[in-house]
Amino acid sequence: MKLKTKLTAAILGVSAAAFALCGTVSALSFKNYSLDTAAAGEREKLAIAGRAFQQVGTREDFEDMGEIARDAYLKYQFRRCYEDGYALIKDGEPLVNLTGYEIVDLSPLTGEYAVQEVGGRRILLLLEPLPYPDGFSVLAASDVSSVWENAGRQAAWSGLMFLASSLGVSLLLTLFLTGALRPLEELKNAAAAISRGELGAKVTIRSSDELGQVGQAFNRMSDQVEQQVEDLQLLLGALAHEMKTPMTSVMGYADSLLHVRLPKEAQTAALKRIYESGARMEQLSSRLLSLLGLYENDSISFQEVPAEALFRQVRQDCAPFLEERGVRLLLDCPQPVSFQGDAVLLESLLTNLVQNACRASHPGDPIHLSARPGTLIVADCGCGIPEKDLPHVTKAFYMADRSRSRSQGGSGLGLALCERIAALHGASLTIESREGQGTTVTVAFTKPLQNDEYFGRQP
């Protein structure tokens, strides 16, 4: 069921219940009031007739009469004074009955008046004792069915009014809700568009109410999703491109080994190339896995990492690499400094930076690795990065000098990995470089850690 139908039904239901309650109460009180009025009128008529009846004799007159004569006299006078609808009661027994009804039992008739239902008609009964002679009273009976009929008619009429007005109201309500809920409809369509693959679908924001806020949040989400998917596609495209070279190499050499009669040494060379290409693809995939793996924060343990221990490990890891290229690594840590972070990740970050510096350096050049409170610096005096490439170097698979970096074993993922590690530590990665003079990479632990739990432990 649609929301607007639900809302309309709920509102109509509640107002119908309220109306039914009010209607019943007002019909009842109307009936009671009518009945009271009728009773008061009846009593007045009774009083007027009573005054006439008083003229027929005084108390002394009746006391002087014998009982039979008195009764006969009263009967005669009663018929003369009262119209139809009254009865003379003597000691609970009717003496004269002009009511048109059979009087059976008067004992329940106490209080002001009573209403009795006889043959589908409602009869109002009033019992008025006569001041004298003692034991005589007058009973008035009048048909008050019209009171009930009027009340019923009143109730039916207002019910009809209610129906007509609620029909109008529900029509207006539906129109209003359709307008008010249009943003929801648009959200639904936009979400459907996104799930169909039309990324970046937006909704128009018309108001600043809750629906407007939902729309704004939706638009932000849509932007984010589009951006992320785009990034992922770029990464995938770059990966596919990077895989193509080693693939071509593997396929080509295997094809040559299968279909070309190569001399022995050429065969060995081909097999070696196949192995190297495989190793390159392996390196690429493990780098990429670690790049993606960093999205999961669970495996990271933050602790105090002393710079000295970190540097020792980095020197050890990079030793073969440095030796091969004849580059010196100079450590500079004048005072005991420690960093808040994951030892393995920080080490990987520095190793990557040192290897990059090493690739850029000429044999014999030094690489400076320094630690200051809150800052780690890797500086080289190598070939530098061209200015136009500088803003892009942290993008995955971006290589300023493709053939050169690849021939030296660069994957194009190193700096992307470094930036992610730095971001994870709430640190910023700044690269300054001048072509021909060298590059300086600064890791500054500026922002407090994102994770409060770890932030609390910081000195």
Partner: protein
């Protein structure tokens, strides 16, 4: 005299692969790993010009498209060899004046056949092929062995020419049918076997045609 091929490719693995296979198939190769060096070579080597250049599009320095002018000036036909397989790149390459466009990864045999077609089309194919004392004159369609002329039927001659042009490369029966008899020939692969048997009977050099089980035939030439 062998055909001389320039291989311009920055990825050493691919460059070595091409040179290795071309050398085995009877070509002479010269490898270059960037645009500048090949430009210099084209300017200097007046006497020893190449017959064909295999050029990667993405190169350090001037890229493959930019080198086109230099090759044109030196009158060297170009086949582009690249990882970019999209149509617009192909169109751009061919419009620029390349003879052919091969997308990586490629099969060695495909490369050889395409090179051969380009060499034939541009009139640079060696017109006389030799193997030991066997001489095949492609222009006059004459075969001599040990100074004596050997009469061959037209299809036998074509088959022998294909073998000599693709030495040390395994040629499948279907491939041979295709290359010798053409695409629309609906013969059986048995036809190839029969012609190979005739070549082996008529020529001493026929012994160099080796049967490779389940693959086809290979013309062995250890002198390359």
């Amino acid at each position: 005299m062998k055909n001389r091929i320039f291989v311009v490719e920055d990825e050493p693995a691919i460059s070595d692969l091409i040179c290795m296979s071309l050398t085995a198939a009877g070509y002479e190769t010269a490898a270059f790993d960037d645009g500048e060096s090949v430009r210099a070579a084209l300017r200097e080597e007046k006497g020893k010009q190449a017959d064909l250049a295999l050029v990667d599009v993405m190169l350090p320095g001037p890229d493959g498209f930019q080198l086109m002018e230099d090759f044109k000036r030196a009158d060297v036909p170009v086949i582009y060899l690249t990882a970019k397989g999209d149509v617009s790149s192909k169109v751009k390459g061919l419009r620029a004046g390349a003879e052919d466009y091969i997308v990586k990864p490629f099969e060695i045999l495909e490369l050889l056949v395409r090179m051969e077609k380009v060499l034939e089309r541009t009139g640079r194919m060696r017109s006389v092929l030799t193997y030991r004392d066997l001489t095949v004159d492609l222009g006059r369609r004459r075969v001599t062995e040990g100074g004596r002329e050997i009469p061959l039927k037209p299809m036998e001659f074509s088959l022998l020419a294909v073998f000599l042009k693709n030495r040390n490369v395994v040629l499948g029966r279907d491939r041979l049918l295709n290359l010798v008899w053409g695409n629309d020939f609906c013969g059986e692969t048995r036809t190839v076997d029969v012609h190979v048997a005739w070549l082996r009977k008529k020529l001493k050099a026929g012994a160099a045609i080796r049967t490779i089980p389940k693959a086809g035939y290979l013309f062995e030439d250890d002198s390359l």
